[in-house]
C-alpha cells in the first residue's frame, strides 16, 4: 500500500499507481455513473456518463489515470443534469420501450436513467429502423436497444477469446455486427454460456426463454438503486 490520494467531492480517496479515477472511486465506495465500463474489461471511454471534473476539466473517469493532486467533482447538479441529457441521447437514438422490454428492472440503461431522475426523452426521437437477429437457437440480438458500449465486443475478445462482436460504420450509422460469413448470430461461434451473451447492459443481447423467469417486481433494480448494486458488484470484482 502507499498513501497517494485523490479528492472526490471533498472526500480523500487512496489510489495505487496505474489505477484510473473510476477504479479508485469504486474501491473506495464512490459511485460514478457509467454504462460502457465494467472492471472486467479494458476501459473504453465512449458513453461519457462517467465524465467528472478533474481540476476543473472534464475527463472520463473510466480511462483517466488517477494522480496526486487531482481535485475531482462527481456529484453536482451540473454534471448530473448533463449525464441525464447524455442518457436521453441514448434513449432517442435507439428504440427503447421499457414497459415491453424483457430486460426491464434488470437494465442498466433504465436504472441509470432512474438514478439521474430522467422522466422524459427530451430530444426528438430518431425512430431508426433496426432489426432483430433471432437466428441463434439460444441468444437473440435486438438492435433497437444497442447503445454501442462494446461490452459484448470486449467480453468476447478478452474473456471468451472469440471475437464474435464488433461495432461497424461511422457516426450515427454505427451498428453492432456479428463475425460470421452470413452476418447472422447463428453462424458465429457464440454460445449461450459465453460472457459476451450475458454482459449487455440493456436488452440488446438476450438469452432466449429466460426473459420472465424472474417476475417483474423481483428484479435487481426493483429493489435497489444502481449505485448500491454497482458498488457491490464491481467493488467485489475489483477486489478479486
Amino acid at each position: 500500500m502507499n498513501n497517494k490520494s485523490i479528492v472526490i467531492d471533498g472526500k480523500t480517496i487512496p489510489f495505487e499507481d496505474g489505477q484510473t479515477i473510476m477504479q479508485a472511486a469504486i474501491a473506495a465506495g464512490v459511485y460514478i455513473p457509467h454504462l460502457c465500463h465494467n472492471p472486467q474489461f479494458t476501459p473504453h471511454g465512449s458513453c461519457k456518463l462517467c465524465t467528472v471534473k478533474v481540476n476543473g476539466r472534464n475527463c472520463s473517469a473510466c480511462t483517466f489515470p488517477a494522480s496526486e493532486g487531482q481535485n475531482i467533482t462527481n456529484v453536482t447538479k451540473e454534471l448530473n443534469d448533463d449525464r441525464e441529457k447524455i442518457t436521453q441521447m441514448l434513449f432517442v437514438e435507439g428504440n427503447h420501450f421499457c414497459p415491453s422490454c424483457e430486460k426491464t428492472g434488470n437494465c442498466n440503461l433504465q436504472a441509470v436513467a432512474y438514478h439521474l431522475g430522467m422522466t422524459d426523452n427530451h430530444f426528438p426521437h430518431f425512430f431508426e429502423n433496426r432489426e432483430v437477429d433471432a437466428s441463434h437457437p439460444d441468444v437473440m440480438i435486438d438492435h433497437n436497444r444497442c447503445i454501442f458500449c462494446t461490452l459484448c465486443v470486449r467480453a468476447s475478445q478478452e474473456v471468451d477469446g472469440k471475437n464474435v462482436f464488433a461495432i461497424s460504420g461511422r457516426g450515427i450509422d454505427k451498428r453492432l455486427v456479428v463475425n460470421s460469413e452470413s452476418g447472422l448470430l447463428k453462424d458465429s461461434g457464440l454460445d449461450a454460456t459465453d460472457c459476451a451473451a450475458h454482459i449487455c447492459p440493456t436488452g440488446a443481447i438476450l438469452i432466449k426463454r429466460t426473459g420472465y423467469k424472474v417476475p417483474i417486481g423481483q428484479r435487481i433494480y426493483d429493489h435497489a438503486h444502481i449505485d448500491t448494486v454497482t458498488l457491490a458488484n464491481e467493488g467485489a470484482s475489483h477486489d478479486e
Binding site: C47, K48, I86, G171
Partner: protein
C-alpha cells in the same frame, strides 16, 4: 478475383496495417469491396472480417455495393455552394441520367456529394475515381458526360479537366525559399542533433494544423521515451473545409517537407516515417513518390543518409475519405489499418503512438518550417510574428474575394490586411480556421491572426453581404454530423441532433424555446465529446448565435409551440392509402 486479392495481399506483405491500401486497390478494380474479397483478406491478413467490414463502412470512399465505373463526387463545401453547386450538380445528374447518390442502371456512372475536396480556390470541384477535377462549369460537365457515355478511360480525358493550380498569391518567409535537398540535413548534423532541437525550440515553432502545440517539445518527449523504435508521421489529411495550403506545399515544396521529416527523424531517433495523404489528393501521389525516389537516389533517404550513419525512409499512405483522420490518434489508427477512431489520452502518441511506439505527428507546414529552421536557425524564424506566435502562417483564402489562393503572413497580421490583399469587399464576416474555428463579424476585422487571438489551421473563408448566416451554419452542421466517427455518445448523437435542430430552425419550424434548446445542445456536445471534432462541432452555431441572435430569432414562429416537422406532409402516406385528397384530409401546421 481470388488471384488478384492474393497478389495484392502478397505485395503488401500480408500486413493488416496496409488494409486501407489494399482496399483502395480492390475498390478501384471492382468499384466496390465484394464479400468474397473480405473473406479472403480476413484469412490472409489474420484479422476478423468485422475489422474489414468496419473499415469499409467507416471510410466514405469504400463501398459494400458497386459504384459506377466512373464514380463522380462533387465537393459539398460552403464555397462550392456559394458558386452554384446545387444547380451544377443537378445539371450533372440530369445530363448523366442518374440520381444524386445513386448508380446509373447500366452501372457506368455514379454521382454523389463529398466533403470539401480542398480545391476551394478553384471551385466547383470534385473527384472522378478519386482524381481531382476543378473549375467545373456546364461546358466542362458536358465534356465529362460525353467521356463517361463513351466509356473513355480516365487517362484519355483532357488533362485540362484535372488541372490543379497552386495559386500562390503572396509568398513570405517560407514560400520564398527554394525546396531543400539535403542542405538542412547537413546543417543539422554539422550543428548537432540536440543543438538543432534547441534551434527549433528557439524558433518558437508551434503545430500548424491548428492546435499549436510546441513542435520542439513534441520531438523532445518522443526522443526521451525509452523505446526500440519511434515514428515520424506527416499529417497531410487536410480535411478542414476551406483549407488547401498543404496541397500546394506538397505540390511545390515536397522536398522541404520530406527534409523536415528527415531532420525530425534524426532528432527523435526514428528510422521510419509516413506521410498520411488525404484520399482527395490522390493526384499528388505519383508526384510525391517520384520526389521520394529522387531523394533515395541522392541518398537523402535510405541507409546512411549523407554519410551521417543515419537510416530513414518515408512511405506514403492514402486516406479514404474521413475528416476525423486529421486528429492525430485517429490518423494513427487509420495507419494501422483500422477505422479512424481517436484514442483515449493519456497515453499521448509521443509516448504510445503507431504500433504503440513513440510517435510524433506533425502538420505538412510544420515540417516545411522545421526544415527551414534547421537550415537557417531559430532566430531567422522567431524574428517574425508575435511573442506567443512566432514565424509566419500560410493561409488558404477562399469565398467572396477577387483573388482566392495561398497567402503567407507573419502571425499578428490583422484580418483586414488579408481582406484588403485578396480583394474582398462588402464583407459580412469571415470563417477563420474552418467550420471548427470561429466566425467573426465585420466589426472584428482589426483582430489578429495568432494563437493568442484567432487561432487557425489556415482556412479563411470570406462571406459577403449577400450571404445568409444560416445557410453557412446549415452546411457546417451537416458536415460535422456526416464526419462524426460515432465513438462517443455526445458527438455521435449530438451532432445528428444538432443537424436536425438547425434544419428545424432554418426550415421555419422553430418556436420560442428552440434557440435555448439549440444552445443547450451545443454546450453538451462541446463539453462532453471525446475529441476535437465533437468539441468544436458546435462552434458554427455558437459563434454565429453570439453575434447574430436576431438572425436566429427572426426565423422563429411567433407562437409558443411549433411541431418540429411538417404535419401535413407527414399525412401523405395516410392520404395515399385512403385514396383521399380532400380538404379534411389535410392539416394546418398550427391552429391560427
Amino acid at each position: 478475383m481470388q488471384n488478384f486479392i492474393r497478389n495484392l495481399a502478397q505485395e503488401n506483405d500480408f500486413q493488416a496495417t496496409r488494409l486501407l491500401k489494399i482496399l483502395r486497390a480492390v475498390q478501384a478494380r471492382y468499384f466496390y469491396i465484394p464479400k468474397q474479397a473480405i473473406e479472403q483478406l480476413a484469412e490472409m491478413l489474420h484479422i476478423p472480417r468485422t475489422q474489414i467490414q468496419n473499415v469499409i463502412e467507416f471510410y466514405s470512399f469504400f463501398h459494400l455495393e458497386p459504384r459506377g465505373q466512373f464514380d463522380i463526387l462533387i465537393s459539398d463545401s460552403i464555397t462550392d455552394l456559394m458558386l452554384g453547386k446545387e444547380e451544377l450538380i443537378n445539371y450533372f445528374a440530369e445530363k448523366l441520367g442518374v440520381k444524386i447518390g445513386e448508380v446509373r442502371a447500366d452501372g457506368v456512372v455514379s454521382l454523389n456529394n463529398t466533403s470539401c475536396s480542398g480545391m476551394c480556390d478553384q471551385s466547383l470541384a470534385g473527384l472522378v475515381n478519386g482524381y481531382a477535377i476543378t473549375n467545373l462549369t456546364k461546358s466542362r460537365i458536358d465534356e465529362i458526360v460525353e467521356n463517361v457515355n463513351k466509356k473513355l478511360p480516365l487517362d484519355q480525358w483532357s488533362r485540362d479537366l484535372f488541372d490543379v493550380q497552386d495559386n500562390i498569391i503572396k509568398s513570405g518567409l517560407l514560400l520564398n525559399e527554394t525546396p531543400i535537398k539535403g542542405e538542412a540535413i547537413n546543417a543539422t548534423f554539422a550543428r548537432g542533433l540536440m543543438e538543432t532541437l534547441n534551434e527549433v525550440e528557439k524558433s518558437g515553432l508551434r503545430g500548424r494544423g491548428g492546435a499549436g502545440y510546441t513542435t520542439a517539445w513534441k520531438w523532445k518527449f518522443c526522443h526521451e521515451e525509452n523505446a526500440d523504435q519511434r515514428y515520424i508521421i506527416c499529417n497531410a489529411d487536410e480535411g478542414e473545409p476551406g483549407t488547401f495550403k498543404d496541397r500546394v506545399i506538397l505540390n511545390s515544396y515536397a522536398d522541404s517537407v520530406f527534409e523536415g521529416m528527415t531532420v525530425a527523424a534524426a532528432i527523435i531517433g526514428a528510422t521510419q516515417g509516413f506521410i498520411y495523404l488525404r484520399g482527395e489528393y490522390l493526384h499528388l501521389y505519383e508526384k510525391l513518390e517520384a520526389v521520394l525516389a529522387e531523394r533515395r537516389t541522392a541518398n537523402l533517404l535510405g541507409k546512411n543518409i549523407l554519410q551521417n550513419g543515419f537510416d530513414f525512409d518515408i512511405e506514403i499512405c492514402l486516406g479514404a475519405g474521413a475528416y476525423i483522420c486529421g486528429e492525430e490518434s485517429a490518423l494513427i489508427e487509420s495507419l494501422e489499418g483500422k477505422a479512424g477512431i481517436p484514442r483515449n489520452r493519456p497515453p499521448y502518441p509521443v509516448v504510445s503512438g503507431y504500433l504503440n511506439k513513440p510517435t510524433s505527428v506533425n502538420n505538412v507546414e510544420t515540417f516545411l518550417a522545421a526544415a527551414n529552421i534547421a537550415l537557417h536557425g531559430g532566430e531567422w524564424f522567431a524574428a517574425f510574428g508575435t511573442s506567443k506566435s512566432k514565424g509566419t502562417k500560410i493561409h488558404s483564402i477562399s469565398g467572396d474575394c477577387a483573388k482566392p489562393g495561398i497567402y503567407e503572413y507573419p502571425f499578428g497580421v490583422t484580418v483586414q490586411t488579408l481582406l484588403d490583399d485578396c480583394g474582398a469587399s462588402e464583407v459580412l464576416g469571415v470563417q477563420i480556421g474552418g467550420p471548427s474555428g470561429t466566425f467573426i463579424a465585420n466589426n472584428e476585422f482589426k483582430r489578429k491572426i495568432a494563437f493568442e487571438d484567432l487561432a487557425t489551421g489556415g482556412s479563411f473563408i470570406i462571406f459577403n453581404n449577400s450571404r445568409n448566416i444560416l445557410d453557412i451554419v446549415h452546411n457546417f452542421s451537416h458536415f460535422f454530423a456526416h464526419e462524426s466517427c460515432g465513438f462517443c455518445t455526445p458527438c455521435r448523437v449530438g451532432t445528428s441532433l444538432l443537424k436536425k435542430q438547425v434544419d428545424k430552425i432554418v426550415e421555419g419550424h422553430g418556436s420560442a424555446g428552440d434557440i435555448v434548446a439549440l444552445e443547450e445542445l451545443c454546450q453538451l456536445i462541446k463539453n462532453y465529446s471525446h475529441c476535437g471534432l465533437g468539441q468544436t462541432a458546435a462552434n458554427p452555431v455558437l459563434t454565429t448565435l453570439e453575434r447574430y441572435p436576431e438572425v436566429y430569432q427572426n426565423m422563429l414562429k411567433k407562437i409558443s409551440y411549433e411541431p418540429g416537422f411538417d404535419l401535413d406532409k407527414s399525412l401523405e402516406t395516410a392520404r395515399r392509402l385512403a385514396n383521399r385528397d380532400d380538404a379534411a384530409a389535410h392539416l394546418a401546421q398550427v391552429e391560427e
